[in-house]
Point group: C2
Chain length 400, copies 2
């Protein structure tokens, strides 16, 4: 007998039919003799609908009241799923975040889990009940409801799996696992049997959008074995686990990210501290920087380029113009680019991985405008129009 | 400075515009220097929509999960109202039933309040915050959410007013107060300045549908001064308070109730215990009986007629046929009737009130098929088609 944590996102429980489908997956797992804890997000568009209602009344509502509003979403989905499980004849109880013992800090809208008090969870499991837990939410020291922020339900699931020492944490999505590339774009993309936490983290960061980063980090920290799988097609998914436990592969996947802007400051005076002034100011505005490239410009000036998420581009340009325009440098922004990356722990011990990628792009006639590498990734910036072509070419080079 | 409890029903907060309207009423009361606790129901059709969702998945869902589902409704409305109050610049906090200290028994779906722990409420009021409380809900000893059942938000409001010793509990509805008759039917119906708890109880029972009975009973028990008034039109409403404090009026109002069925058992053998067999069996099925009439029939038999709510009529007929058909009596059911009543504590000390009513009906050519009286009411059963005409005639006789 194992303890399995299963997490279902909003689209998996979007309507009555889908809720019944999830109930069947859950009860099948239970009937195989497992203890089951299910973590659920709000149904389909519920969260967006609630945000819309709030905006109509007060676009500047306090985060405390926004969390009070949004946590109603999972309350609806857990009770409906519990009713569906009741219908299938299995004992079940639904628990809100606070009932399941999720204690967080006070950061409404993006709270961090401080502890999970497992008494209630454990006592319901001891009664042989399937426990359906509201993801994404907790309670703070003032007994007020909080939300964990983006991807919070994944985090809830991994955190429960960690504290209960679950044998596996299954994250159900609308894809059947993690692929070597986006299967909607690259028809011969292959599903990975397994992948390391670090590789998964890079893939998530690079736009694969299968698993939330924070939850993968937590899974790595507490050594929770994750499985990414589909709630609609019943087949084994991709296991995310420690590197030691799996076969080595050169690279795991090819990804693209088009939500990226390149900001350039050209013609800065060559004085010390330019980079510090630039990035400390950007950090203070909460702007995350990705690839950075510094080069010597003409006439003893310097150029710095970097990439960030598109949403931050306007703010970044404003901030930089304030600093550098008075000094005669020019700030520009380019959003017609995409980042294409290869990810794989195997490349650490293989030379030639990067050059194989560059060769594939050269043969496809694609120009590279910036390059960045880490231990397990190589990323290039290219023309956004060519992103799909680039992924295809690179995928072919590595996976045939 | 006073402490005012204000309660708004679902239609008062049905959309963004109405929520803003309620926020203005609340903040105006607050700006006059009062402490304000606001009790809110779920928005408009939210509760019905949630029940529909549940039925689609499992029509026999457990009451525990139904309460988990339904309590999400008020959670949405309290946070939205709090956001609206924030927008108007007043300090505010929304509290769920359990946060406001509502401890109930375990009867999911129709829980009774056992105690209200006022620490949180009081501490928020001490911080000069407007406190918005989710009506209709509480928490039981297992830390599970419960609902108070029909009219629960009125009960929540009165209960808070009682424990906090509020100076007044204002129940906002879609009418401007309690009238001597339904103002939509009787154009010259008069709004009452005040009314006693007992009169209000009779009016509620008799179909006036302004205030929930349980809340009026609680207000009477704890001597909470109620005011029934409109959330849309700003004018003084009707005060519900102790008899000692108000002017005597002969009668307070004329009501009709068309949700009524008359069940008759004709030709019972005249043996002792018929009535006992009949009404104990009906009580065991949870059927509330209203007017009862027993008469001697032909040939040494007896007839018993009584009225009950239409919903129970089929069950009542079934139960009675089981008992009396084998003994040769006939059970019949008539739903073409209405009950018209006059209510007023003043009639206790006045003779002739009933006969004035009967005279008015006689002059209007309306036949009376059953009569029932209590200390402060006189009710008659008549043809349903003539109900409005009857109310008009009786109202004219007493109020001109």
């Amino acid at each position: 007998m194992s303890l399995i944590v299963q997490k279902f996102g909003g689209s998996s429980v979007a309507n009555a039919e889908r809720v019944m489908n999830v109930a069947r997956i859950v009860t099948d797992t239970y009937k195989e003799g497992n203890d089951v804890v299910v973590v659920v997000s709000a149904q389909g568009d519920t969260t967006d609908d609630l945000i819309e209602k709030a905006k109509e009344i007060n676009p500047k509502a306090s985060k405390r009241e926004m969390d009070m509003l949004l946590t109603a979403g999972e309350q609806i989905s857990i009770s409906l799923l519990a009713m569906a499980i009741e219908k299938l004849g299995c004992p079940v109880v639904s628990l809100l975040g606070w009932q399941a013992g999720f204690h967080t800090n006070r950061a409404y809208g993006s709270a961090r889990i401080e502890s999970i008090k497992t008494e209630r969870l454990q006592s319901e499991l001891d009664k042989k009940k399937i426990v359906v837990v509201a993801g994404f939410q907790g309670i703070n020291k003032s007994d007020d409801l909080t939300t964990l922020g983006r991807g919070g339900s994944d985090t809830s699931a991994v955190a429960i799996a960690a504290v209960l020492h679950a044998d596996r944490c299954q994250i159900f999505t609308d894809v059947t696992g993690v692929f070597t590339a986006d299967p909607r774009k690259i028809p011969n993309a292959k599903k990975l049997k397994d992948i390391t936490y670090d590789e998964m983290l890079e893939l998530a960061t690079l736009g694969a959008q299968v698993l939330n980063n924070r939850s993968v980090e937590m899974a790595k920290k507490y050594n929770v074995e994750l499985e990414v799988l589909s709630s609609l097609e019943r087949e084994p998914g991709t296991i995310v686990k420690e590197a030691a436990k799996m076969e080595k592969m050169l690279i795991r996947g090819v990804t693209k990210d088009t939500d990226v802007a390149r900001i350039s400051v050209v013609g800065m005076k060559d004085i010390p501290g330019n980079a510090f002034r630039m990035f400390s100011k950007l950090a203070s505005k909460g702007i995350n920087i990705d690839v950075i490239l510094q080069s010597v410009g003409r006439d003893g000036t310097k150029d710095i380029s970097f990439t960030c998420a598109k949403d931050y581009a306007d703010t970044a340009v404003e901030v930089l113009e304030d600093i550098f325009s008075p000094e005669g440098a020019k700030v520009s922004c380019d959003t017609t680019i995409a980042k294409v990356s290869i990810v794989g722990a195997g490349m650490q011990s293989h030379s030639g991985t990067a050059s194989k990628m560059f060769g594939a792009l050269y043969e496809a006639g694609i120009n590279i405008s910036m390059i960045s590498t880490s231990e397990i990734t190589v990323s290039v910036l290219i023309d956004k129009e060519l992103a799909d072509k680039a992924v295809e070419a690179v995928h072919k080079a590595f996976f045939g």
